[in-house]
Protein backbone atom coordinates (compact mmCIF):
# COMPACT_ATOMS: atom_id res chain seq x y z
CA UNK A 1 0.00 0.00 0.00
CA UNK A 2 1.26 3.45 -0.94
CA UNK A 3 1.71 6.42 1.28
CA UNK A 4 -1.33 8.00 -0.34
CA UNK A 5 -4.23 5.97 -1.54
CA UNK A 6 -7.11 7.55 -3.43
CA UNK A 7 -10.18 5.39 -3.93
CA UNK A 8 -13.09 6.31 -6.17
CA UNK A 9 -12.81 9.99 -5.42
CA UNK A 10 -15.74 11.90 -6.91
CA UNK A 11 -16.23 15.64 -6.56
CA UNK A 12 -19.25 17.58 -7.77
CA UNK A 13 -20.06 21.27 -7.77
CA UNK A 14 -23.70 21.56 -8.65
CA UNK A 15 -23.79 20.12 -12.12
CA UNK A 16 -20.03 20.17 -12.66
CA UNK A 17 -18.19 16.94 -12.10
CA UNK A 18 -14.66 17.98 -11.27
CA UNK A 19 -13.51 14.49 -10.34
CA UNK A 20 -15.18 11.36 -11.53
CA UNK A 21 -14.40 8.29 -9.47
CA UNK A 22 -10.64 8.61 -9.60
CA UNK A 23 -8.45 5.95 -7.99
CA UNK A 24 -4.67 5.66 -7.77
CA UNK A 25 -1.88 5.13 -5.31
CA UNK A 26 1.23 7.14 -4.67
CA UNK A 27 4.22 5.19 -3.40
CA UNK A 28 6.38 6.44 -0.61
CA UNK A 29 9.40 8.34 -1.87
CA UNK A 30 8.38 8.77 -5.47
CA UNK A 31 7.81 11.79 -7.64
CA UNK A 32 4.30 11.49 -8.93
CA UNK A 33 2.92 13.83 -11.57
CA UNK A 34 -0.66 14.80 -12.32
CA UNK A 35 -1.26 16.12 -15.80
CA UNK A 36 -4.22 16.90 -17.97
CA UNK A 37 -5.88 19.68 -19.94
CA UNK A 38 -7.11 22.86 -18.33
CA UNK A 39 -10.08 22.30 -16.12
CA UNK A 40 -9.42 18.57 -15.96
CA UNK A 41 -9.57 18.52 -12.18
CA UNK A 42 -5.90 18.46 -11.21
CA UNK A 43 -6.07 21.30 -8.75
CA UNK A 44 -9.32 19.92 -7.42
CA UNK A 45 -7.51 16.67 -6.78
CA UNK A 46 -4.86 18.43 -4.73
CA UNK A 47 -7.59 20.29 -2.89
CA UNK A 48 -9.11 16.98 -1.92
CA UNK A 49 -5.79 15.71 -0.69
CA UNK A 50 -5.03 18.79 1.36
CA UNK A 51 -8.59 18.95 2.64
CA UNK A 52 -9.92 22.15 1.12
CA UNK A 53 -12.51 20.19 -0.79
CA UNK A 54 -14.30 17.17 0.59
CA UNK A 55 -14.97 14.54 -2.06
CA UNK A 56 -18.67 13.86 -2.59
CA UNK A 57 -17.85 10.18 -2.42
CA UNK A 58 -14.80 7.96 -2.27
CA UNK A 59 -11.97 7.95 0.22
CA UNK A 60 -8.42 9.14 0.76
CA UNK A 61 -5.95 7.25 2.91
CA UNK A 62 -2.69 8.72 4.05
CA UNK A 63 -0.13 6.43 5.68
CA UNK A 64 -2.91 3.93 6.06
CA UNK A 65 -5.20 6.32 7.91
CA UNK A 66 -8.51 7.41 6.43
CA UNK A 67 -8.24 11.19 6.21
CA UNK A 68 -11.24 11.84 3.97
CA UNK A 69 -13.08 13.86 6.62
CA UNK A 70 -10.08 15.48 8.29
CA UNK A 71 -9.72 19.23 8.30
CA UNK A 72 -6.87 20.80 6.35
CA UNK A 73 -4.88 21.81 9.42
CA UNK A 74 -5.05 18.30 10.79
CA UNK A 75 -3.65 16.97 7.52
CA UNK A 76 -0.86 19.52 7.60
CA UNK A 77 0.17 18.35 11.03
CA UNK A 78 0.24 14.80 9.69
CA UNK A 79 2.83 15.88 7.16
CA UNK A 80 1.01 17.04 4.04
CA UNK A 81 2.33 20.33 2.68
CA UNK A 82 1.11 22.25 -0.30
CA UNK A 83 2.10 25.05 -2.67
CA UNK A 84 -0.66 26.64 -4.67
CA UNK A 85 -1.26 27.34 -8.34
CA UNK A 86 -2.38 30.92 -7.79
CA UNK A 87 -0.02 32.29 -5.23
CA UNK A 88 -1.42 32.11 -1.72
CA UNK A 89 1.31 33.69 0.36
CA UNK A 90 0.75 36.04 3.26
CA UNK A 91 1.41 39.24 1.31
CA UNK A 92 2.15 41.58 4.20
CA UNK A 93 4.60 39.31 5.91
CA UNK A 94 8.25 39.07 5.04
CA UNK A 95 9.69 36.06 3.30
CA UNK A 96 11.14 34.98 6.61
CA UNK A 97 7.82 35.12 8.44
CA UNK A 98 6.11 33.29 5.63
CA UNK A 99 8.60 30.49 6.00
CA UNK A 100 8.36 30.53 9.79
CA UNK A 101 4.64 30.02 9.32
CA UNK A 102 5.48 26.98 7.32
CA UNK A 103 6.92 25.59 10.53
CA UNK A 104 3.80 26.25 12.54
CA UNK A 105 2.90 22.62 13.06
CA UNK A 106 6.43 21.76 14.08
CA UNK A 107 6.46 24.34 16.88
CA UNK A 108 4.77 24.28 20.23
CA UNK A 109 4.89 27.68 21.90
CA UNK A 110 1.44 28.58 23.13
CA UNK A 111 -0.27 31.85 23.78
CA UNK A 112 1.07 32.64 27.22
CA UNK A 113 4.57 31.40 26.62
CA UNK A 114 4.66 33.44 23.41
CA UNK A 115 3.33 36.55 25.10
CA UNK A 116 5.88 36.42 27.88
CA UNK A 117 8.54 35.07 25.55
CA UNK A 118 10.33 33.29 28.31
CA UNK A 119 13.25 30.93 27.93
CA UNK A 120 11.70 27.99 26.20
CA UNK A 121 9.66 30.04 23.77
CA UNK A 122 12.68 32.06 22.80
CA UNK A 123 14.85 29.00 22.36
CA UNK A 124 12.23 27.40 20.18
CA UNK A 125 11.97 30.46 17.96
CA UNK A 126 15.72 30.49 17.45
CA UNK A 127 15.95 26.81 16.76
CA UNK A 128 13.26 26.97 14.09
CA UNK A 129 14.69 30.11 12.64
CA UNK A 130 17.81 28.09 11.92
CA UNK A 131 15.78 25.54 10.00
CA UNK A 132 14.14 28.27 8.01
CA UNK A 133 17.46 29.84 7.16
CA UNK A 134 18.49 26.50 5.70
CA UNK A 135 15.49 26.58 3.39
CA UNK A 136 16.35 30.15 2.44
CA UNK A 137 19.90 29.13 1.58
CA UNK A 138 18.65 26.17 -0.30
CA UNK A 139 16.32 28.21 -2.49
CA UNK A 140 18.82 31.03 -2.84
CA UNK A 141 16.49 33.76 -1.67
CA UNK A 142 18.77 35.24 0.97
CA UNK A 143 18.62 38.75 -0.39
CA UNK A 144 14.85 39.05 -0.18
CA UNK A 145 14.63 37.52 3.28
CA UNK A 146 13.07 40.60 4.86
CA UNK A 147 11.01 41.85 1.93
CA UNK A 148 7.23 41.66 2.25
CA UNK A 149 6.31 38.98 -0.25
CA UNK A 150 3.46 41.02 -1.68
CA UNK A 151 5.94 43.21 -3.53
CA UNK A 152 7.95 40.40 -5.09
CA UNK A 153 7.66 39.46 -8.72
CA UNK A 154 5.55 36.49 -9.74
CA UNK A 155 8.42 34.08 -10.20
CA UNK A 156 10.02 34.90 -6.87
CA UNK A 157 6.72 34.48 -5.10
CA UNK A 158 6.38 31.03 -6.61
CA UNK A 159 9.75 30.16 -5.21
CA UNK A 160 8.92 31.46 -1.75
CA UNK A 161 5.73 29.51 -1.83
CA UNK A 162 7.58 26.29 -2.53
CA UNK A 163 9.94 27.20 0.29
CA UNK A 164 7.08 27.65 2.71
CA UNK A 165 5.78 24.20 1.94
CA UNK A 166 9.27 22.81 2.32
CA UNK A 167 9.76 24.45 5.68
CA UNK A 168 7.06 22.20 7.03
CA UNK A 169 9.38 19.25 6.45
CA UNK A 170 6.49 17.29 5.00
CA UNK A 171 6.23 13.62 4.23
CA UNK A 172 4.36 14.45 1.11
CA UNK A 173 4.70 17.66 -0.83
CA UNK A 174 1.99 18.85 -3.22
CA UNK A 175 3.22 21.26 -5.87
CA UNK A 176 0.73 22.91 -8.21
CA UNK A 177 2.55 24.25 -11.25
CA UNK A 178 5.66 25.36 -9.37
CA UNK A 179 7.37 26.37 -12.58
CA UNK A 180 4.65 28.47 -14.13
CA UNK A 181 6.02 31.85 -15.06
CA UNK A 182 9.65 30.81 -15.10
CA UNK A 183 12.06 30.80 -17.95
CA UNK A 184 14.00 27.73 -18.76
CA UNK A 185 16.98 28.60 -16.63
CA UNK A 186 14.77 29.17 -13.64
CA UNK A 187 12.92 25.99 -14.39
CA UNK A 188 16.18 24.14 -14.31
CA UNK A 189 16.89 25.60 -10.90
CA UNK A 190 13.49 24.61 -9.67
CA UNK A 191 13.86 21.13 -11.07
CA UNK A 192 17.14 20.82 -9.26
CA UNK A 193 15.53 21.86 -5.99
CA UNK A 194 12.79 19.35 -6.45
CA UNK A 195 15.24 16.58 -7.13
CA UNK A 196 17.32 17.62 -4.14
CA UNK A 197 14.38 17.68 -1.78
CA UNK A 198 13.35 14.36 -3.04
CA UNK A 199 16.75 12.79 -2.68
CA UNK A 200 17.94 14.41 0.50
CA UNK A 201 14.80 14.15 2.53
CA UNK A 202 13.14 11.29 0.73
CA UNK A 203 9.98 13.38 0.47
CA UNK A 204 7.16 12.06 -1.64
CA UNK A 205 6.19 14.64 -4.21
CA UNK A 206 3.01 15.13 -6.18
CA UNK A 207 3.61 17.52 -9.01
CA UNK A 208 1.23 19.27 -11.36
CA UNK A 209 3.00 20.81 -14.31
CA UNK A 210 2.23 21.66 -17.90
CA UNK A 211 5.85 21.56 -19.05
CA UNK A 212 6.12 18.05 -20.43
CA UNK A 213 9.89 18.15 -20.45
CA UNK A 214 9.94 18.56 -16.70
CA UNK A 215 7.21 16.05 -16.06
CA UNK A 216 8.69 13.32 -18.20
CA UNK A 217 12.19 13.81 -16.85
CA UNK A 218 11.38 13.91 -13.17
CA UNK A 219 8.42 11.63 -12.59
CA UNK A 220 8.40 8.07 -11.46
CA UNK A 221 4.74 7.76 -12.23
CA UNK A 222 2.23 9.95 -14.01
CA UNK A 223 -1.56 10.09 -13.80
CA UNK A 224 -3.55 11.83 -16.50
CA UNK A 225 -6.91 13.43 -15.89
CA UNK A 226 -9.42 14.64 -18.44
CA UNK A 227 -12.85 15.99 -17.55
CA UNK A 228 -12.35 14.60 -14.08
CA UNK A 229 -11.66 11.07 -15.25
CA UNK A 230 -8.41 9.21 -14.92
CA UNK A 231 -7.51 8.45 -18.52
CA UNK A 232 -4.01 7.20 -18.05
CA UNK A 233 -1.60 6.02 -15.39
CA UNK A 234 1.93 4.74 -15.74
CA UNK A 235 5.59 5.51 -16.14
CA UNK A 236 6.58 8.42 -18.34
CA UNK A 237 7.29 6.11 -21.20
CA UNK A 238 3.94 4.45 -20.96
CA UNK A 239 2.16 7.78 -20.81
CA UNK A 240 4.00 9.17 -23.77
CA UNK A 241 2.77 6.30 -25.83
CA UNK A 242 -0.77 6.26 -24.54
CA UNK A 243 -2.95 7.27 -27.46
CA UNK A 244 -5.79 8.60 -25.31
CA UNK A 245 -3.39 10.85 -23.51
CA UNK A 246 -1.84 12.06 -26.70
CA UNK A 247 -5.19 12.92 -28.13
CA UNK A 248 -6.60 14.64 -25.07
CA UNK A 249 -3.56 16.45 -23.85
CA UNK A 250 -0.12 16.06 -25.31
CA UNK A 251 -0.73 16.58 -28.97
CA UNK A 252 1.30 14.73 -31.55
CA UNK A 253 4.62 16.49 -31.37
CA UNK A 254 4.93 16.51 -27.58
CA UNK A 255 4.78 12.80 -27.63
CA UNK A 256 8.45 12.21 -28.16
Amino acid sequence: MGILDIKDATLRFGGVVALDSVSYEVQEGEIFSLIGPNGAGKTSMLNCISGLYKPSSGSIHFKGEDITRYKPHKRASMGIARAFQNIELFPHLSVLDNLMLGRHVRMKTGLLAGGFYWGKAQREEIEHRKKVEQVIDFLEIEDIRNTPVGTLSYGLQKRVETGRALALEPDILLLDEPMAGMNSEEKEDMARYIIDIHEEMNTTIILIEHDMGVVMDLSDHIAVLDFGKLIGYGTPDEIQNNSRVIEAYLGEENAV
Binding site: T43, N47, L52, F84, Q85, N86, E88
Partner: protein, 294 residues
Amino acid sequence: MTFFLQMLVTGIVVGSVYALVALGFVLIYKSSDAINFAQGEFLLIGTYVCLTLITAYNIPFIAALLMALMFSAVLGFAIERIVLRPFIGEPVISMIMATIGLSSVLAGIVHIIWGHETRVFPRIFSEQPVKLGEIVIAPVYLWSLLIVVAMLIIFTLFFKYSKLGIAMRATADDQQAAMSMGISVKMIFAVAWAIAAIVSAVGGILLGNINGVNASLSAIGLKVLPVAILGGLDSIPGAIIGGLIIGILESLTGGYLDPLVGGGLKEVMPFVILVFILMFKPYGLFGKKEIERV
Protein backbone atom coordinates in the same frame (compact mmCIF):
# COMPACT_ATOMS: atom_id res chain seq x y z
CA MET B 1 -56.03 37.42 14.09
CA THR B 2 -56.59 41.07 13.41
CA PHE B 3 -53.90 41.74 15.94
CA PHE B 4 -51.50 39.49 14.09
CA LEU B 5 -52.37 41.02 10.74
CA GLN B 6 -52.00 44.52 12.09
CA MET B 7 -48.58 43.60 13.45
CA LEU B 8 -47.62 42.00 10.16
CA VAL B 9 -48.71 44.94 8.05
CA THR B 10 -47.08 47.42 10.40
CA GLY B 11 -43.90 45.40 10.13
CA ILE B 12 -44.03 45.41 6.36
CA VAL B 13 -44.55 49.12 6.02
CA VAL B 14 -41.96 50.10 8.61
CA GLY B 15 -39.65 47.57 7.02
CA SER B 16 -40.05 49.30 3.70
CA VAL B 17 -38.55 52.45 5.17
CA TYR B 18 -35.65 50.40 6.49
CA ALA B 19 -35.28 48.84 3.08
CA LEU B 20 -35.05 52.21 1.44
CA VAL B 21 -32.29 53.37 3.72
CA ALA B 22 -30.51 50.03 3.44
CA LEU B 23 -30.51 50.40 -0.30
CA GLY B 24 -28.04 53.24 0.10
CA PHE B 25 -25.58 50.92 1.83
CA VAL B 26 -25.99 48.31 -0.84
CA LEU B 27 -25.39 50.69 -3.71
CA ILE B 28 -22.13 51.86 -2.26
CA TYR B 29 -21.03 48.40 -1.31
CA LYS B 30 -21.80 47.13 -4.77
CA SER B 31 -19.39 49.53 -6.35
CA SER B 32 -16.65 49.76 -3.77
CA ASP B 33 -16.97 46.95 -1.26
CA ALA B 34 -17.14 49.58 1.46
CA ILE B 35 -19.71 50.43 4.09
CA ASN B 36 -20.70 54.05 4.28
CA PHE B 37 -21.00 55.14 7.86
CA ALA B 38 -22.09 58.58 6.70
CA GLN B 39 -25.30 57.19 5.25
CA GLY B 40 -27.35 58.71 8.05
CA GLU B 41 -25.89 62.16 7.42
CA PHE B 42 -26.57 61.87 3.70
CA LEU B 43 -30.12 61.21 4.56
CA LEU B 44 -30.22 64.14 6.91
CA ILE B 45 -28.78 66.63 4.47
CA GLY B 46 -31.10 65.62 1.66
CA THR B 47 -34.04 65.96 4.00
CA TYR B 48 -32.98 69.34 5.32
CA VAL B 49 -32.42 70.71 1.85
CA CYS B 50 -35.87 69.62 0.77
CA LEU B 51 -37.39 71.04 3.93
CA THR B 52 -35.62 74.35 3.58
CA LEU B 53 -36.73 74.69 -0.01
CA ILE B 54 -40.32 74.15 1.04
CA THR B 55 -40.42 76.25 4.17
CA ALA B 56 -37.98 79.05 3.46
CA TYR B 57 -38.54 79.45 -0.27
CA ASN B 58 -42.15 78.27 -0.52
CA ILE B 59 -41.37 75.91 -3.36
CA PRO B 60 -44.06 73.28 -3.93
CA PHE B 61 -43.25 69.84 -2.61
CA ILE B 62 -42.68 68.02 -5.87
CA ALA B 63 -40.34 70.70 -7.19
CA ALA B 64 -38.53 70.87 -3.88
CA LEU B 65 -38.18 67.11 -3.86
CA LEU B 66 -36.64 67.07 -7.31
CA MET B 67 -34.30 69.89 -6.44
CA ALA B 68 -33.27 68.18 -3.22
CA LEU B 69 -32.56 64.98 -5.11
CA MET B 70 -30.49 66.91 -7.59
CA PHE B 71 -28.63 68.52 -4.76
CA SER B 72 -27.99 65.09 -3.24
CA ALA B 73 -26.58 63.87 -6.50
CA VAL B 74 -24.22 66.83 -6.63
CA LEU B 75 -23.27 66.20 -3.03
CA GLY B 76 -22.49 62.59 -3.84
CA PHE B 77 -20.30 63.66 -6.74
CA ALA B 78 -18.56 66.29 -4.66
CA ILE B 79 -17.82 63.86 -1.88
CA GLU B 80 -16.31 61.41 -4.29
CA ARG B 81 -14.13 64.12 -5.74
CA ILE B 82 -13.02 65.68 -2.48
CA VAL B 83 -12.95 62.85 0.00
CA LEU B 84 -12.95 59.47 -1.62
CA ARG B 85 -10.78 59.73 -4.66
CA PRO B 86 -7.53 59.33 -2.76
CA PHE B 87 -8.84 56.04 -1.42
CA ILE B 88 -9.04 54.37 -4.79
CA GLY B 89 -6.76 51.39 -4.61
CA GLU B 90 -6.31 51.70 -0.84
CA PRO B 91 -7.57 49.01 1.52
CA VAL B 92 -11.33 49.09 1.91
CA ILE B 93 -11.01 49.57 5.63
CA SER B 94 -9.43 53.01 5.15
CA MET B 95 -12.34 54.01 3.03
CA ILE B 96 -14.77 52.80 5.67
CA MET B 97 -12.93 54.82 8.25
CA ALA B 98 -13.00 57.84 5.98
CA THR B 99 -16.76 57.59 5.94
CA ILE B 100 -16.74 57.73 9.72
CA GLY B 101 -14.75 60.95 9.44
CA LEU B 102 -17.10 62.14 6.75
CA SER B 103 -20.09 61.55 8.98
CA SER B 104 -18.57 63.82 11.58
CA VAL B 105 -17.87 66.53 9.01
CA LEU B 106 -21.38 66.38 7.61
CA ALA B 107 -22.93 66.33 11.07
CA GLY B 108 -20.94 69.45 11.92
CA ILE B 109 -22.09 71.18 8.76
CA VAL B 110 -25.70 70.26 9.47
CA HIS B 111 -25.30 71.67 12.94
CA ILE B 112 -23.87 74.92 11.66
CA ILE B 113 -26.55 75.42 9.04
CA TRP B 114 -29.66 73.99 10.62
CA GLY B 115 -28.93 73.95 14.32
CA HIS B 116 -30.43 71.31 16.46
CA GLU B 117 -34.09 71.89 16.96
CA THR B 118 -36.60 69.54 15.47
CA ARG B 119 -38.18 70.82 12.30
CA VAL B 120 -41.31 69.56 10.80
CA PHE B 121 -42.40 68.98 7.26
CA PRO B 122 -45.57 70.68 6.20
CA ARG B 123 -48.21 68.02 5.71
CA ILE B 124 -47.49 66.30 2.45
CA PHE B 125 -49.10 62.96 2.97
CA SER B 126 -52.60 62.79 4.27
CA GLU B 127 -52.95 62.14 7.99
CA GLN B 128 -56.02 60.06 7.39
CA PRO B 129 -55.04 56.43 7.96
CA VAL B 130 -55.82 53.99 5.19
CA LYS B 131 -58.02 51.16 6.35
CA LEU B 132 -57.79 47.62 5.06
CA GLY B 133 -60.60 45.96 6.91
CA GLU B 134 -59.63 46.38 10.54
CA ILE B 135 -56.03 47.13 9.76
CA VAL B 136 -54.84 50.70 9.58
CA ILE B 137 -51.79 52.09 7.83
CA ALA B 138 -50.46 55.62 7.68
CA PRO B 139 -50.31 56.78 4.05
CA VAL B 140 -46.67 57.82 4.29
CA TYR B 141 -45.73 54.18 4.81
CA LEU B 142 -47.74 53.10 1.81
CA TRP B 143 -45.76 55.54 -0.25
CA SER B 144 -42.50 54.17 0.99
CA LEU B 145 -43.61 50.66 0.14
CA LEU B 146 -44.44 51.82 -3.35
CA ILE B 147 -41.14 53.60 -3.84
CA VAL B 148 -39.22 50.64 -2.56
CA VAL B 149 -40.82 48.30 -5.03
CA ALA B 150 -40.08 50.71 -7.86
CA MET B 151 -36.43 50.97 -6.83
CA LEU B 152 -36.16 47.22 -6.60
CA ILE B 153 -37.16 46.86 -10.22
CA ILE B 154 -35.08 49.72 -11.52
CA PHE B 155 -31.86 48.79 -9.79
CA THR B 156 -32.11 45.09 -10.43
CA LEU B 157 -32.36 45.74 -14.14
CA PHE B 158 -29.63 48.35 -13.99
CA PHE B 159 -27.05 46.08 -12.42
CA LYS B 160 -27.93 43.09 -14.46
CA TYR B 161 -27.94 44.54 -17.92
CA SER B 162 -26.54 48.04 -18.24
CA LYS B 163 -22.95 48.63 -19.17
CA LEU B 164 -22.52 50.94 -16.20
CA GLY B 165 -24.05 48.38 -13.87
CA ILE B 166 -21.64 45.68 -15.00
CA ALA B 167 -18.75 48.11 -14.73
CA MET B 168 -19.80 48.90 -11.15
CA ARG B 169 -19.80 45.27 -10.17
CA ALA B 170 -16.46 44.78 -11.87
CA THR B 171 -15.02 47.70 -9.92
CA ALA B 172 -16.15 46.26 -6.63
CA ASP B 173 -14.48 43.01 -7.58
CA ASP B 174 -11.06 44.29 -8.49
CA GLN B 175 -10.38 47.99 -8.84
CA GLN B 176 -7.07 47.65 -10.58
CA ALA B 177 -8.32 45.15 -13.09
CA ALA B 178 -11.32 47.39 -13.72
CA MET B 179 -8.98 50.26 -14.50
CA SER B 180 -7.14 48.06 -16.91
CA MET B 181 -10.45 47.57 -18.76
CA GLY B 182 -10.70 51.32 -19.17
CA ILE B 183 -13.39 51.59 -16.55
CA SER B 184 -13.09 54.91 -14.80
CA VAL B 185 -13.13 53.95 -11.17
CA LYS B 186 -13.58 57.58 -10.19
CA MET B 187 -16.66 57.86 -12.32
CA ILE B 188 -18.08 54.66 -10.94
CA PHE B 189 -17.58 55.85 -7.39
CA ALA B 190 -19.08 59.22 -8.17
CA VAL B 191 -22.16 57.69 -9.74
CA ALA B 192 -22.58 55.19 -6.93
CA TRP B 193 -22.32 57.85 -4.26
CA ALA B 194 -24.65 60.13 -6.11
CA ILE B 195 -27.29 57.44 -6.43
CA ALA B 196 -26.82 56.43 -2.81
CA ALA B 197 -27.25 60.04 -1.75
CA ILE B 198 -30.43 60.32 -3.77
CA VAL B 199 -31.93 57.15 -2.36
CA SER B 200 -31.04 58.25 1.15
CA ALA B 201 -32.64 61.62 0.62
CA VAL B 202 -35.86 59.94 -0.45
CA GLY B 203 -35.73 57.82 2.68
CA GLY B 204 -35.01 60.86 4.82
CA ILE B 205 -37.88 62.84 3.41
CA LEU B 206 -40.28 60.01 4.17
CA LEU B 207 -38.87 59.71 7.68
CA GLY B 208 -39.07 63.44 8.16
CA ASN B 209 -42.76 63.17 7.50
CA ILE B 210 -43.12 60.60 10.22
CA ASN B 211 -41.22 62.15 13.09
CA GLY B 212 -39.88 65.50 12.04
CA VAL B 213 -36.26 66.22 11.26
CA ASN B 214 -33.45 66.77 13.66
CA ALA B 215 -29.86 65.71 13.80
CA SER B 216 -30.60 62.47 15.58
CA LEU B 217 -32.46 61.27 12.50
CA SER B 218 -29.07 60.23 11.19
CA ALA B 219 -28.99 57.43 13.74
CA ILE B 220 -31.26 55.47 11.41
CA GLY B 221 -28.14 54.85 9.34
CA LEU B 222 -26.61 52.52 11.90
CA LYS B 223 -29.93 51.07 12.84
CA VAL B 224 -30.46 49.88 9.30
CA LEU B 225 -27.05 48.30 8.87
CA PRO B 226 -28.32 44.90 10.03
CA VAL B 227 -30.95 45.09 7.34
CA ALA B 228 -28.34 45.44 4.65
CA ILE B 229 -26.34 42.60 6.14
CA LEU B 230 -29.29 40.29 6.49
CA GLY B 231 -30.18 40.66 2.85
CA GLY B 232 -26.57 40.34 1.78
CA LEU B 233 -24.52 43.49 1.50
CA ASP B 234 -24.49 43.61 -2.26
CA SER B 235 -27.97 42.51 -3.06
CA ILE B 236 -30.73 44.91 -4.05
CA PRO B 237 -33.54 42.42 -3.47
CA GLY B 238 -31.67 41.47 -0.30
CA ALA B 239 -31.92 44.98 1.09
CA ILE B 240 -35.59 45.03 0.45
CA ILE B 241 -36.43 41.60 1.73
CA GLY B 242 -34.06 42.17 4.64
CA GLY B 243 -35.88 45.39 5.43
CA LEU B 244 -39.24 43.68 5.39
CA ILE B 245 -38.04 40.77 7.49
CA ILE B 246 -36.51 42.98 10.14
CA GLY B 247 -39.57 45.20 10.11
CA ILE B 248 -41.87 42.23 10.60
CA LEU B 249 -39.63 40.67 13.24
CA GLU B 250 -39.54 43.88 15.20
CA SER B 251 -43.23 44.29 15.00
CA LEU B 252 -44.07 40.72 15.95
CA THR B 253 -41.55 40.68 18.79
CA GLY B 254 -43.07 43.90 20.00
CA GLY B 255 -46.52 42.40 19.73
CA TYR B 256 -45.97 38.98 21.24
CA LEU B 257 -42.70 38.75 23.18
CA ASP B 258 -42.32 42.18 24.70
CA PRO B 259 -45.39 41.82 26.90
CA LEU B 260 -43.83 38.67 28.34
CA VAL B 261 -40.43 40.09 29.25
CA GLY B 262 -41.48 43.62 30.03
CA GLY B 263 -40.49 45.22 26.76
CA GLY B 264 -37.28 46.19 25.06
CA LEU B 265 -36.82 42.97 23.10
CA LYS B 266 -38.16 44.60 19.99
CA GLU B 267 -34.85 46.31 19.36
CA VAL B 268 -32.71 43.31 20.27
CA MET B 269 -34.55 40.47 18.62
CA PRO B 270 -33.63 41.36 15.05
CA PHE B 271 -29.97 41.05 16.00
CA VAL B 272 -30.43 37.67 17.60
CA ILE B 273 -32.30 36.36 14.58
CA LEU B 274 -29.79 38.01 12.28
CA VAL B 275 -26.86 36.16 13.80
CA PHE B 276 -28.85 32.98 13.75
CA ILE B 277 -29.65 33.35 10.06
CA LEU B 278 -26.07 34.29 9.26
CA MET B 279 -24.88 31.05 10.78
CA PHE B 280 -26.73 29.27 8.01
CA LYS B 281 -26.31 31.85 5.31
CA PRO B 282 -22.95 33.45 6.10
CA TYR B 283 -23.31 35.99 3.31
CA GLY B 284 -26.83 37.02 4.16
CA LEU B 285 -29.87 35.85 2.30
CA PHE B 286 -28.72 36.90 -1.15
CA GLY B 287 -25.20 38.23 -0.72
CA LYS B 288 -22.41 37.19 -3.02
CA LYS B 289 -20.21 34.53 -1.57
CA GLU B 290 -16.58 35.29 -1.24
CA ILE B 291 -15.02 33.07 -3.87
CA GLU B 292 -12.18 31.04 -2.53
CA ARG B 293 -10.58 29.01 -5.22
CA VAL B 294 -7.03 27.98 -4.85
